[in-house]
């Protein structure tokens, strides 16, 4: 773990132990224990403890600047790329400390999709998807073909691009480009997929396709989605975490959170009472 500060005593992560279904009570695939993140001296995430269960979609909601994106950037070690950014506490994937692993290996196991679709501009659809594998040294054409087709199918894009797979990725529509980015992330066979506001630049139809895709993806992957859109959290996520000023305020089944939140702050945020 990087950072100069002494790691605080790990807190018991917010888990589903208090959730309604006993089947849901499981140790997280990804577990945060008293995780704090800093930009220089400024604390952006304040001792968050949280379990993200496997094969579940977890939404992270909260007002702008509350630390949502910073939190997920800590999960695939993108936070440390920012100058003077540090992390304390513990983050584990299947019990392995993410900050004791090789950062590249972490990013292969924990993929990320960003707010705006960002296909590599000079590459074809095929090369966009194959890029990660090629970076990891895969050169076998048959293996690349298999991975590209599997990933495009997994991202629900194959049927729309199969006739022009060697055409430029940037010629696709915004929604297709975002699914291309999802396919690119899937190609390296991650275990966890982080999505940072993946639909904020998309129209309602493209958004609906991505949301449908997210519901499908959880069968194979653990999905964590940051969203400003609370209806989107309600539509796609089984679990929701509410962050405010870098602190985890509430975490639990999405239905409970939106019907009867436990915390007054959560109630005020989801009902639009923040001034």
């Amino acid at each position: 773990m990087e950072g100069s500060q002494a790691a605080p005593t790990p807190a018991e992560p917010a888990s589903l132990a208090s959730a309604s279904s006993p089947a849901q009570v499981a140790r997280g695939k990804l577990r945060l224990e008293a995780l704090s993140a800093f930009y220089g001296p400024k604390k952006a995430i304040d001792s968050v403890s949280l379990d993200f269960p496997a094969n579940t979609v977890t939404a992270i909601i909260g007002p702008s600047g509350c630390g949502k994106s910073t939190l997920i950037r800590c999960l695939n070690r993108m936070h440390e790329v920012t100058p003077r950014a540090t992390v304390t506490g513990r983050a584990t994937l299947d019990g392995e400390d993410l900050y004791e692993m090789d950062a590249t290996a972490v990013r292969r196991r924990i993929g990320m999709v960003f707010q705006k679709p960002n296909p590599f501009p000079t590459m074809s659809v095929y090369d966009n998807v194959a890029a990660g594998l090629k970076l990891n040294g895969v050169r076998n054409r048959a293996r690349l073909d298999e991975a590209v087709i599997r990933s495009l199918k997994g991202a629900a894009l194959w049927d729309e691009v199969k006739e022009n797979i060697h055409g430029p990725g940037v010629r696709l529509s915004g929604g297709q480009q975002q699914r291309l980015c999802i396919a690119r992330a899937l190609a390296v066979e991650p275990e966890v997929l982080l999505m940072d506001e993946p639909c904020s630049a998309l129209d309602p139809i493209a958004t609906a396709k991505i949301e449908q895709l997210i519901r499908t993806l959880k069968e194979k992957y653990t999905v964590i989605i940051v969203t400003h859109n609370m209806q989107q959290a309600a539509r796609v996520a089984e679990l929701t975490a509410f962050l405010y000023l870098g602190k985890l305020i509430e975490f639990g089944p999405t239905g409970d959170m939106f019907e009867r939140p436990k915390e007054k702050l959560t109630e005020e945020y989801i009902t639009g009472r923040f001034g």
Binding site: P63, S64, G65, C66, M230, Q231, A234, L245, F258, E259, R260, P261, L265, T266, E267, E268, I270, T271, G272, R273, F274, G275
Partner: protein, 233 residues
């Protein structure tokens, strides 16, 4: 931090829910008058009162449709959560209970038309008391809903036991009179039906109180009502 906890935001949904609450209160008063009118029509034997209750039915229907439509519109337009969505869910259920209360009053008015002047037999004063208690329960439940008052909502359940007891007394009294082979057995059967209707009015008042508690706390009936119908919050 670009946003935070400042002054409470002005939300269009607040005014819409306030208006909806007023409309439900008005519908509730309308339905209570139908029950009171039905019982008065039986007591007085005055067909004009019974017909006035019958004349209230169309407006009761209109309240039901208008409030439901508005609640659905708010759900669709505002996509509410937490207390807001519980209020709208409760509102949609409440108007069904209120509609049933009005219709029970309407049925009693029809009995008054079928059996004019049927209030002279011994069990009648019990029915009058039942009517007073059941309609007071509905009013208390509506007040609890309008003012989001959990204490008042809890008291509705206490009053229900009294109405249940009166219902048992009416049945016992009617059986006693029927055992004496009275000349008016049909009227006594009407008493039994009216008693049952008033007991149902009280039950619907409890349902209104139950939804009020859900609206305010998010708790379902099984989470706050003990088997002996005591509210534990």
């Amino acid at each position: 931090m670009s946003e935070g906890m400042g002054a409470p935001a002005t939300r269009p949904i607040d005014a819409e829910i306030a208006k909806l609450t007023q409309d439900i209160e008005a519908m509730g008063r309308w339905a209570v008058e139908m029950v009171r009118g039905g019982v008065q029509a039986m007591e007085s034997g005055d067909p004009a009162i019974a017909n006035e209750v019958r004349g209230r039915d169309d407006r009761l229907d209109a309240f039901d449709m208008e409030i439901e439509q508005e609640a659905i519109r708010i759900l669709a337009m505002r996509q509410p959560a937490a207390h807001d969505v519980r209020t709208l869910g409760a509102a949609i259920k409440l108007i069904t209970y209120v509609d049933r209360i009005g219709r029970l009053g309407l049925d009693i008015a029809f009995y008054a038309i079928d059996d004019p002047g049927a209030s002279h037999l011994p069990p009648w004063p019990l029915l009058r008391t039942m009517s007073e208690k059941a309609t007071a329960m509905v009013e208390l439940a509506l007040e609890a809903f309008v003012h989001r008052d959990l204490a008042k909502a809890s008291r509705v359940f206490d009053a229900d036991d009294e109405v249940d007891e009166l219902n048992r007394q009416v049945l016992k009294e009617c059986v006693k009179v029927l055992d004496g082979d009275p000349p008016e057995p049909r009227e006594l059967l009407t008493y039994v039906l009216v008693s049952r209707h008033l007991e149902r009015v009280a039950d619907n008042a409890c349902k209104i109180a139950e939804k009020t508690i859900y609206m305010e706390t998010g708790k379902r009936r099984r989470e706050f009502l003990t088997p002996d119908k005591k509210v534990v919050l």
